[in-house]
């Protein structure tokens, strides 16, 4: 599974992109986020407030209950501020 981090998610985790292999019990966006919070202090800080976080799975906005699978591209980012 490919993870992408943007804006301050990237600054806090210290990575723009990483390949991860979560355990098989991680099947939803919410479960993935909970698993990522344990990945290290940078991830813990970046993911401390999940209400400030947007998730896209395969470039589509996703909700906590949406499924994630091996091979998916999952992006984590704050609310967008373009325009």
């Amino acid at each position: 599974m490919k993870l992408l981090y943007f804006a301050w998610l990237k600054t806090k985790t210290g990575v723009a992109e990483e390949d991860v292999a979560p355990p098989p019990e991680v099947t939803t966006v919410a479960e993935l986020l909970a698993w990522l919070q344990q990945r290290g202090p940078g991830h813990a800080e970046a993911l401390a407030d999940l209400s400030a976080l947007k998730v896209a799975v395969n470039q589509e906005y996703a909700q906590p209950g949406d499924p994630v699978r091996p091979g998916d591209e999952v992006a984590l980012f704050p609310p967008v501020t373009g325009g």
Binding site: A7, Q59, P78, P79, T81, G82, G83
Partner: protein
């Protein structure tokens, strides 16, 4: 038509190309977003626009499609820049052309409102206090919500 690019755009040339030869266009509504040198009480030296390549284009295309489904448009355009921009520089151009002006205005507002809350761009401001990621504004969310309908939205 949508474009994401680092280089600047020529508003006059873009608009001329958009309506060239189409004599059904009675009104063209346009919005240009520019970099300000202040935000709140912070002086802005420059800003850097980051985006999510791939998803950005997908979302912009979907927003444009949605506008064309909601209003009878003759042409539409979204150009958004990325990279480092200084105050006074152009960030975004949206335009909607229609036979009638109200459709053009409504579609143009819809395009920029949705872009601001759905297209994955983020602004990093360079200020005297260092670099700051811009917070999303509640007013932008409110501006988007006025376009919501019971039907399926274009994004999120």
């Amino acid at each position: 038509m949508i474009r994401v690019q680092e280089h600047d755009f020529d508003v006059g040339a873009e608009l001329a190309a958009l309506t060239a030869g189409n004599h059904q266009v009675g009104g063209l509504a346009v919005f240009v977003g520019l970099v300000r040198d202040m935000a709140g009480d912070r002086d802005i030296d420059a800003m850097t626009l980051e985006h999510y390549p791939g998803m950005t284009e997908k979302m912009l295309a979907r927003i444009e499609t949605e506008a064309n489904e909601r209003w009878p448009l003759e042409a539409s355009l979204i150009i958004h820049r990325v990279g480092r921009l200084e105050p006074g520089e152009q960030i975004v151009l949206v335009a909607a052309a229609s036979a009638h002006r109200q459709a053009a205005f409504d579609a143009c507002q819809f395009l920029i409102d949705w872009l601001k809350t759905k297209a994955p761009f983020w602004k990093l401001e360079e200020t005297g206090q260092g670099a700051l990621w811009v917070d999303a504004r509640d007013s932008d969310t409110a501006a988007t919500e006025r376009w919501s309908t019971p039907k399926k939205g274009a994004a999120e």
